[in-house]
Amino acid sequence: MVTTAPILMDTRPVAPASTFRPTTTTPAAAGPGAQAAPAETLIDIDHVDFFYGATQALHDVSLRIENRKVTAFIGPSGCGKSTLLRCLNRMNDLIDGTRIAKGSIRIRGVDIHQHDVDVIELRKQVGMVFQKSNPFPKSIYENITYGLRLQGVNNKARLDEVVEKSLRGAALWDEVKDRLDASGLGLSGGQQQRLCIARAIAVEPEVILMDEPCSALDPVATAKVEELIQELRTRFTIVIVTHNMQQAARCSDKTAFFYMGKLIEYADTRDIFTKPANAQTEAYVSGRFG
């Protein structure tokens, strides 16, 4: 069941991130078809109302995101899917006047909006890949090691190891291994996005949030990122926001459909796309609106 380590509390000095990884996990070989062990809830979103100033962006949203699964948030623009995603690592804190008026978001049982939660620790655990790829104007190597250096890791051998591992993990190693000192901005759009994914996994988070990671990419680059998501699902819990319904259908296990700030339907991806329970969902996934 739930690991004993109470994560996300501001209990510095903290154990290294890897200890938060459940050590007893069975190799999660669960593909979209396999129904193995009962799904373990990692993130529990409980009746959340969210406001930008006076504007309510989320209305009573409740859903449970399962560990080591890919969860897709779909819905038309302005439906609140990105807002919810950014609640999960508290990126909304950066915007003045935002607040969760009601409800809670718990990760492994810890309410992440409590005052005693260290948002820095939280973000180490819940990484993020943005819509617009944002490699830093530094070398590829420095991009990957950025997060680790923040944590005070300066051992060259260790950094080298992480760089290779992360780049391999992001399926980018073979393309860039000879030019790690080149600027990350010299890469193509798709490579830049994979670099950002590599940068996120370098700090070994538990969850990776992806905010429309492919919206600026061409189909070939998109396919590569989707392939990558398939590989990462065994090691990370992934929440992906996408405009692209085919993408949700192709690479997620569970799909949540949002409309006007409300969660309309949340189910296995197969079910959402083949036998949606809700008429609005059906209309959206069949392309009749949105």
Partner: protein
Amino acid sequence: MSTPTPSHVFQANLTPARRRESLIFGLFGGATYLVLLCGALVFGTIIFKGAGTVFQAKAPFINTSFLLDAPESLHVFQFEGKKMELGDRAFRLFQAEHPEVAKLKQESYIYSAGGIFPCIVGTLLLVVGSMTIALTLGVSAAIYLNEYARDGMFIRFIRLAILNLAGVPSIVFGLFGFGMFVIFFGWNVSLIAGWFTLAFMVLPVVITASEESLKAVPKGFREGSLALGATKWQTIRKNVLPYALPGILTSSILGIARVAGETAPIMFTAAYVVRDKLPWQVDKFSDFFFQGVMALPYHIYVVSSKIPQNEYTERVQYGTAFVFLVLVAMIATTSIILRNHLRNRYKW
């Protein structure tokens, strides 16, 4: 010749709108070239008249005495049928050899011989010190305003205050510095009083420009860094400030030109008409900060308006102005090279 008949449908003909257009363009162009002409005249005069003082026909082609000596009085007299022009020191040596000179009719002109070395040093010291203070305070304030402060009435008031400060005449800064640093803090006429006065004068420019540079750094860099578990300060230090630095430097180039050039703020706070000792000739280290200095713009002011004018002082006036222009150009060039270097390093 008969009136030309249009040979094709797009035949050009001079309609009133078209005539007005050429007139307007002519005016705009004229205004631009007039500015250019003024600039060329100013620089041309100074270079033409100043170069004669700074350069010389024989090797090493640069008048090293003008650049490396202190100002002296010029003595002009007739000696054995020859017209002699000697600086103070040379005159004394000459007099030792020819005591009869004392009886000759001679004219002396203050500050018209020697050089302007103490002024160059003083101006450099003033620029370096005040820009250090202005950049430290200005960048800090810009970081606070742009990255930390939440927009509200108070912040808007601060911004308004900064804008107003930018419009305050430099003589007012000079009086402020005199009242605050020279009198109230008891620093007397000193380098440190001048540094702070000049720094306060350019602070609004530095703050505003630094804020703009910080704003120009894409939000994605900040978000990307924060999402990796960086604190705000780590993000700013490692992933915002380095990219904003070229822009901040650009603004400081303007600041340098102003700090080096303003006379009013230093005339009560830091500048001496003349000082025999060089700034590093102090008894103890702390005295360094509490000494007045000579400065190029103030020296120009003194030799142009405080002493009797004649053909000899003109050489010093234009020579000093020329050196001053070259000095500012050199400092600015250094900053531009530094900026371009940084820009190439962090490009996005």
